[in-house]
Symmetry: T
Subunit: 144 residues, 12 copies
């Protein structure tokens, strides 16, 4: 059975825990549950991990190269600045799908460029928590 | 029953009709069939249209505002240059999901920027024909 | 009697037909009527034309060089991208006044630059439908 | 009866007083007369003022906020450099129409950008002394 | 016998029909005749086509992939803006020589860059109608 | 007893005199009073001056070099454009603290850069009228 | 009683511990004491924290959202590069005052831009350890 | 007898009056005397004027067009920012030589570009007070 | 009989002498022979010259102004950097056709811009040794 | 006896452990051994450390200032983004030699600029594991 | 007796020898004579040298460091591109005055920047052959 | 026995011959001796060459392709401007190590970019004369 790393970058741990009237009540725990559930339907195991530390995210990618068949990655703000995460993806040879809750291309100029996208399989953004589920579908579809 | 416009921009009519050993044998007709089929599963009707003309694509969006509930749009090369298509999306008020076969962020610098993304719901790129199916899922999911 | 081409670019056909509470109820037909009416007062005939196609707008300018004494042109989104329309103005030698409903200089950065203005007589923007009437006054005044 | 400030920026005092074969014999006094005359037809009083000093122009705008219903402003070279005049327009809340004798978009690159346009109602340029009359028409039309 | 598409972009239909004292009396018809004649000498058939529409030019390139052995292409103003035409050249796999009447590198800055040149065999510019004949020689020479 | 020049640039004379519901009722006179009062607590005399003229502000700095021990300076819009004020600070050798009512780094791009900051002791911005009091504290603290 | 997080970014732990003849003998411990002391005078409790890790700083901000009423933040070098810290400030909704020991606008070009300032209340820089005390005054003043 | 305006921009009034050990004891008065003296040798009358106000400098140039045969102009910091002074030179048609005490090309990047040089006869910089005498020689030599 | 200078810039002396399987066996000597031969057919004498030194190329252009009727010039890498060669072309008044073996617009960004093209008659690139023959045809055709 | 910190940045822990046919079988452990061995020959002790975390690398540099006489630093991807590491080098006053396995100047544009090089003794790149040995030679040679 | 190197860069050897009706009949020989003559009046010996080769100009500067007290240098087109000449000036420690016949700041954008000016005493441009005489006066005046 | 070309660019001939208190007494002759000596230890013959002429350096590289097994190259100022030297390295296929005495990345912005590095094996800079010895070690190590 294939295993998927579900990787969340900085600040995503706060999802849904404040201002629910604004951001909705979907917490990161909810998202993880939904993706794991969806994984079961697709026959893959999903292992979630979140960190606010760039180094910890790199460490996780390194570790995952021995057991993961692919990665769903929401790199948060590191999307736009981290060459180190880009190199980690290249160095581990992992198949990565980049996802974002918001439509990053509709926000501030500095969020339009992704340092990671060029080494990912593809990018999905703008669909809220659905971006994750679409990302899993895309990843599993591409792994076949 | 909701109706979806499936809009293809310039050069996409050539898909699969040449160099099948390179691009695969998936033609635009195949893609249209798959998306229509998927639409049936999701309970929506999909109406495909392709043109190489920026003006014709604008005309189609205008026309669709009276009957479409949403749009799956692969704007091809117009993605990066057409303010007119951007204005058409804004002016019609249509809910649009931007899709691309290739990962545009991994290609030439001039393909990284989308003039349309800021007025679309979201962007999906890099998954070949799957990008379309994911786009339909995303659109229908967001319409609920 | 002098004849004036009243040329409208992409998306202007939608004016006034939707969200009247936002954009007002002035349709393109209304604007055309007002300009034609104003033309009668000034002793000139006004011939309106709209297209969403860059090519069709170029064709119209070419055709008009044999019968028009001047042009009121709202190039819409093509203002900022079309070198071909710029060349058409130069090639036909027509006297053109560029008009815009909105104040393009108060909008997104990419709308500040006009590729056409350098080959037009002048530019009027920001006065809604009045921009057209002012454009006609400016053109006829300059033709004397 | 509405009152309009007719404001002229640097170097405009020299209009028409030299090289009449090049610039015509229309002096600033002539332009002021024409605009005042036109104002009478439109039922508004026009009060002209010119200065070469950025500070004096700001002072005038400040003073005018107590008596003017709108401003016709040719900021001359300050158009492209003065954030202070921009702030003065915003701070006074005056309705301002920016006018230029020449088509600034057809001149040197550094004249294409207006620091003031984003806080004005609109911009009219390229029609010589007619720009002022058109500006008055535009302003009065918008004040109704 | 090899067949060559002779493709002309926007505004080239006006060649020679106005201001003959400036641009000379060589019309597009003359140029087509000269190139066809030259083609006969070189043993190739030349089929000319002109359009002001980007979409129509793309359509023509698509169509030509079934019958043309090469293309002489003067893309006019679309040279500098059209990624769609660039993609059409790549997608059709046609051998294209880019030609220009004027020396585009000696004109405005925005005419120096060609979006198409990177996917063409080569570029010839600055020799008036001779650019076309040189382009045909270059193309036929390269086809051998 | 040390003496401090409290210098206000363009448009600051309008503070509090209009739209009190928006900007509050704190006028420049109020601010001057508060800073003078605070100066008394700190044992320094504060002399306020405001002008909309860049030249007058330079003159004031020149004059102050004979009697002032330091300057609290809100240069308003001249912050971003005036090399002449920068040179005046350098030439007079005065110790200057730059203050702003608003957080200039959170506003338009062109307000992020200060031409004066590199020759000032420091910069304080974003705290409304408190910026002035903080500036005085900072200046007096640094003078000890 | 209000509680304030006093947050120090990378390299600030080294303050005062080396080259005292250059940087003075004020250590981070000294600064913390002074700010805590000042807090007592103002009736607020101050809790200091320093880390060289971007992730740890984000974690601290997240944690502080449950107990802190505001933050004095010297982000050190992360000021200019960290979108993740910017997002952390936005996500936690904390009231933050950005402070710097040196006048960052008088140093290298790459230190002029703050990625954080746009989401902070204001910025104070250039006054050495006094910047922290001024920051606390500003924060407490704004919290009233 | 020819008359020359000797025009000094902002901050030049402070020359030599402070830090004589640094800048030398040459005051603006000294420079004026030297240039007047040199003018006598060359048979021209020199009339000096200094102002810190951009507007006053423009006024002076306007006034001088009726009596001056040429101008020696050290525009100080306005060199790099004033389009209004540039327009004043063009509008008055005066023959202007731009001079600078320091070598502006060896200083900060923002001092390398002169907005005025393109409309002056030439530029002389870097020779201290000698720049003025060289400027007079150059001007008188060119007037012959 | 007209005489043509055939000028080759840096590194072109190495053509064909190494890696023949890659670059073909066409040496510079071969190219010179072909161009001389072609010159005979066209009734012009061709005099070849190659140097790796920018100064020597300038010297040659200077010398040629007394005997050459035109120049075929492949400036190699100096194309993109040499203002001195540009000035030499302007100063000698020679009619120059710029040629390149490779399609410089399809190579590295820094090879896209030609400093020389603006002062040449035209540019031909991308056709290998044929570029030279086409250049000669273009030059002789233009000299008639 | 001098002691040297051998510092490795992100992703370098993966060296040689995967795709040996591509990257060779030299692991980080091998490199550390070689550098330690070489250190013995040169009479210095080498202490290796690797981390994927920017903060941990800063911490290590801080700690090393009490015991290290110099540093061999391969900052990996942080080379191009980390101002914090730059400040750490400056703050600790350590003598640092920057080394890279690959020739960073021959890779993507964003890898050409090093934020750290300006505060290092020198940079060595492009020689694989030899870069480290050369770095040690350079450091020890400079320490004499 | 002081000795001055009078150094002329590329293309200056052509001065006055062609198109005398355009450029005047002043040849480089004339200029050299005038400067030598002027040198005699000032009590210095002037030794002229011209080359089109960057290397030869560097060689000359190197040689001159043993006998020249200063240099009048018109670097022609190398002004804008040669870091090697800049380094030669710095390395030789020679006192250099940069002169230009034309006003380089009034010409093409790429002629506005001088790579040499930052290491020269000053710059004089725009006065034709008089620039050289003014340069000698400036140099000798500064040498006293 | 392998032979190495030791190539020095512009101004390096002046090393050590002036201001020994500043640059030390190491002349180019000394450096050449040290590198030759080191070569003997490594079993390679070293042949030094220096020129201030870009063309002569290109000629030398061309000549060396028949006898050299590698090159140690300090291109001096040509590092940053010479595409011709870059092409020479590519065209000759020589293995080149780029060395610099100073740390070019710590100097002026225009010295940070090397046009040659992308076609060299690697770059070593900042270690004074040791850079050459390290370069030789690197080259010989890579040749094994």
């Amino acid at each position: 059975m294939a295993t998927i790393l579900l990787l969340h970058g900085p600040n995503l741990n706060l999802l849904g825990t404040r201002e629910p009237q604004v951001y909705g009540s979907t917490t990161l725990t909810n998202i993880n549950k939904m993706v794991i559930e969806r994984g079961k339907e697709l026959g893959v195991e999903v292992q979630p991990f979140q960190s606010n530390s760039e180094g910890a995210l790199i460490d996780k990618l390194h570790e995952a190269r021995t057991w993961a068949n692919g990665v769903i990655f929401n790199p948060g703000a590191y999307t736009h600045t981290s060459i180190a995460l880009r190199d980690a993806i290249t160095a581990t040879g992992l198949l990565v799908v980049e996802v974002h809750l918001s439509n990053i291309h509709a926000r501030e100029e500095f969020r339009h460029k992704s340092m990671l996208a060029p080494v990912c399989l593809g990018q999905i953004c703008g669909f809220g928590w659905r971006s994750y589920l679409l990302g899993l579908d895309a990843l599993v579809g591409s792994m076949v």
